[in-house]
């Protein structure tokens, strides 16, 4: 809680005896919140939403204290970021129409949620944004958010509980689109607004993701929406982020400007341009020429970027890759991969160490568990050692010395796929690579009719174990397992209210998947960013593969 590490705006806000003494009255509220939630956990190494509740003890006066003792920031200069996802980046200017991670940089720049996410130690943590404190009773059927009285939208109007209600209601309506829409429609009951600073969110069932996932529900201005309508607001959004929208073209770029005197954090830079250039060579050329300041890059270009004086910033293992064996799920009874020993052999025939070091240019780490290592409860299991002799022995013992299997991959085929296939061939497995265009690959995965296996890459922005339900629950869209025990454990994570217990259960889920060889974890990758010479300060958030927290960037 009193982490005094530099470079993190939120940790700097928490230091100081004056802060603690002045916050003692509000601290009683926070302490009551802690007691009500029933957890005093302050895990500084892994993220936990309750750490946010703990921090709430000092927060009510923190803003005022900070304002009194710190000179106001006057934004200056321009920052250009390239999110390189093409149309996926700026499909909508309404930050609440969030359907893919590529929209995150824009969303986080223009809109604040009630509880945000930021760098904390070597991982990520939660902080109060629009919500000064929140309280959650043990049954988890409601969450009371107490809003900051000084929070304002970019147009200067105050953020009130009516805006919270509008935001949370909006996600359930058509034609609104949101990545968690159907889930939210299931769990959300209503929001009550006893006063302008209090929003009581009522739920049909406990939904811990409301806190850990809260950054995916950025608050928008009801008044502005009512005035402009759905399409009008999408072309000219009003929200409470550190930047406000000026102009843009969907699918191409957005021009934003700093909100001076922002309730939470006035950006250091005045003008922010978000654009998308599909070709990496061009992006890096623009970093070198100074036309772009931050962009995505592949790890193979690390030396190039350093060579021209740029900097390479990375997240810490935000994406997990693992092998999915489809045959057991689809009921292909004659498939050798129904036998866990065969899956073990295939896993042990993969040279994770050399692949991550050489083919992935050191931008990945071998993994034994599926999942994002930054999230609470991650069970850091040892990856299978590379041993072709052992793998062959296991395969022979299982009675499947030689067989053929289809291997569906996203085109273009990555080099490591060919390496894996070659190693499998050495132990008698003939894997036929079937490249698919990404849309076709997605359809194949969701249809659950194709035999063989594929590699699943997921995790960036997966900050809570509950999100992995898609891959673990029997009825999850991407799940290829039918284990009742796992279902029970996963459901307890999804609807549990005890974060410590949820984290522990997630570790058990990972262990069971590992022991039963349901999936075979391969490695975790980090997202790499090329940072230009002009940028004096900016770092990505570990575990989150997106360019965010741009209000903290300096040029």
């Amino acid at each position: 809680m009193n982490d005094q590490r530099e470079g993190n705006y939120w940790t700097r806000k928490r230091v100081g005896r004056r802060t603690i003494l002045k916050g003692s009255a509000a601290g009683a509220v926070g302490a009551a919140a802690l007691a009500a939630v029933g957890c005093g956990d302050d895990d500084t190494t892994k993220s936990s939403p309750t750490a946010a509740a703990t921090a709430a003890a000092g927060s009510p006066t923190t803003a005022a204290t900070t304002a009194a003792t710190t000179a106001p920031v006057v934004p200056a200069g321009k920052l250009v970021i390239d999110t390189s996802v093409g149309g996926g980046t700026l499909q909508a200017f309404n930050p609440l129409l969030w359907t893919s991670g590529g929209q995150t940089p824009f969303r986080d720049a223009v809109a604040d949620p009630m509880v945000g996410i930021d760098k904390k130690g070597d991982g990520f943590g939660y902080y109060q944004a629009l919500a000064q404190t929140f309280e959650r009773p043990p049954d988890g059927l409601q969450v009371t958010f107490n809003l900051r009285p000084d929070a304002k939208f970019g147009d200067g109007t105050p953020v009130t509980s009516e805006d919270i209600k509008f935001t949370l209601d909006f996600v359930t309506t058509d034609p609104a689109r949101h990545a968690r829409k159907s889930e939210w429609k299931r769990v959300y009951k209503a929001t009550e607004t006893p006063d302008k600073q209090t929003a009581v969110v009522k739920l049909n069932e406990p939904y811990p993701l409301l806190i850990s996932f809260n950054f995916m529900f950025p608050v928008i201005s009801k008044a502005a929406f009512d005035k402009l309508g759905f399409d009008g607001f999408d072309g000219n959004p009003t929200a409470a982020g550190p930047f406000k929208f000026v102009s843009g073209a969907k699918g191409d770029h957005a021009n934003l400007t700093a909100v001076e005197g922002h309730y939470r954090k006035t950006p250091f830079i005045k003008d922010l341009v978000i654009k998308a250039t599909p070709e990496e060579a061009t992006r890096l050329a623009q970093i070198e020429t100074g036309e772009t300041d931050i962009c995505y890059m592949s790890p193979t270009n690390k030396d190039l970027v350093k060579g021209f004086g740029g900097r390479v910033a990375t997240t810490a293992n935000d994406t997990s890759f693992w092998l999915v064996f489809m045959d057991p799920y689809i009921g292909k009874t004659d498939s050798p991969t129904n036998d866990p020993r065969v899956r073990e052999a295939m896993s042990k025939a993969i040279n994770r160490k050399d692949i991550t070091a050489k083919l992935l240019a050191g931008g990945a780490n071998p993994a034994g568990s599926i999942g994002n290592p930054s999230i609470a409860g991650h069970n850091n299991l040892a990856p299978d050692p590379y041993d072709l002799t052992e793998a062959k022995k296991i395969l022979d013992a299982a009675g499947h010395g030689n067989f053929q299997i289809d291997f569906s991959v996203i085109a273009p085929v990555a080099e490591y796929v060919n390496v894996v296939v070659a190693d499998w061939k050495k132990i008698g497995i003939d894997a036929t690579v079937k490249p698919l265009e990404s849309g076709a690959w997605l359809a194949m995965v969701n249809a659950k009719k194709t035999p063989g296996l594929y590699i699943e890459p997921t995790g960036a922005n997966y900050v809570d174990p509950a999100q992995w339900g898609l891959f673990v629950l029997s009825d999850g869209s991407f799940s290829y397992q039918k284990d009742a025990t796992l279902d029970t454990k996963m459901r307890s994570i999804i609807s549990g209210t005890d974060d410590k217990a949820r984290a522990a259960t997630w570790g058990e889920v990972q262990k069971k998947i590992y022991d039963d060889r349901i999936y075979s974890a391969l490695w975790t990758t980090s997202t790499h960013f090329a940072v230009g010479k002009r940028v004096k300060q900016w770092d990505p958030v570990p575990g989150i593969g997106y360019i965010i927290r741009l209000e903290q960037a300096k040029v």
Binding site: S182, K275, A281, A443
Partner: protein, 306 residues
């Protein structure tokens, strides 16, 4: 003449109808559907199904086609599935960017290529001929994406003379349009040279020389005009190719054009934009071809349209 124009317009309508129908069918035959891609990779099945219903994609192919064609005749291409904006509006917003690039590339291809071709024809085997041919063939031999990246490396990164990518002031147009135009220049050089050589050896040019006309007037006023029919045809084809095939250039240079929009829409299964874009491009191409055909009669009075 009027009969010719009417017949060409009717042909154009049929061509556009065939093209749009083909695109309608082909995008729907592609594996993966729009609802799934639009809902995002994390969306559960119920969300995808709801979106599919909202977009009308749960209807039969026939129903979707009838609905689509009835909208097309009214000029309604629906909204982009991704951007919630008029699909045709998006195309019309982006097309001028492509048009500008194509126009400048055409000037480079026809202007510079034509000039080199004329020079080559005047002095066959000379320095201009050999140098021009080499320059043009070089452009045709190298893939456009490679030329583009090389241009960025040399002129933007190393020399700092030009911006690397993206739209902006006049400097931003140089690299992408030069890359686009250089590739097509070789064909223009060779055709112009060949056409000019034919005309310069003709009896009519010999007669003009006997009459005592200045060589410059013979070449640029008489010979070039007679040689311009095939040059015009090629220019038209190249312009059409620039308009529809600028995808690589727009991708390399981050240019917000219609080519890039179309490719991204195909990947994202944004059917409405693909359909609107194809319809629009086919109309433009047919119109360009019609204008070129009509121009023949202006250039060569011997050509009449029955």
């Amino acid at each position: 003449m009027a009969r010719y124009v009417v017949s060409r317009v009717l042909q154009a309508i049929i061509v556009v109808w065939i093209v749009t129908t083909l695109v309608f069918v082909l995008v729907r035959l592609t594996p993966g559907d729009a609802a799934q891609v639009l809902a995002g990779p994390s969306a559960p099945q119920e969300e995808i199904d709801a979106l599919r219903k909202e977009l009308g994609l749960d209807q039969s192919l026939g129903s979707q086609y009838v609905d689509y064609m009835s909208r097309v005749v009214r000029g309604d291409f629906r909204d982009s599935l991704r951007f919630h904006e008029s699909a045709m509006g998006l195309m019309l917003d982006r097309f001028p960017n492509t048009l500008k690039l194509a126009g400048i590339a055409l000037v480079i291809s026809v202007g510079l290529g034509g000039l080199i071709g004329v020079g080559s024809a005047i002095h066959p085997g000379g320095l201009v001929d050999r140098g021009g041919k080499f320059f043009a063939i070089l452009g045709q031999s190298m893939p456009t994406f490679w030329i583009g990246l090389l241009g960025i490396l040399i002129f933007a990164v190393k020399l700092g003379w030009l911006p690397a990518a993206g739209p902006g002031d006049w400097k931003h147009y140089i690299l992408p349009s030069a890359t686009l135009g250089w590739f097509s220049m070789a064909a223009m050089v060779r055709l112009t040279r060949s056409a000019m050589l034919d005309v310069l050896e003709s009896d009519s040019v010999k007669f003009l020389r006997i009459k005592g006309l200045r060589e410059r007037e013979i070449i640029f006023k008489h010979a070039l005009r007679n040689a311009s029919i095939p040059i015009l045809t090629l220019a038209g084809l190249q312009f059409v190719a620039f308009l529809s095939g600028s995808v690589i250039i727009e991708t390399i240079f981050g240019w917000p054009g219609s080519g890039r929009l179309m490719v991204e829409s195909v990947t994202a299964r944004d059917y409405t934009v693909v359909q609107a874009g194809t319809f629009f491009i086919s109309i433009v191409l047919v119109l360009v071809n019609l204008v070129i055909d009509l121009t023949y009669g202006f250039i060569d009075p011997r050509i009449r349209f029955g």
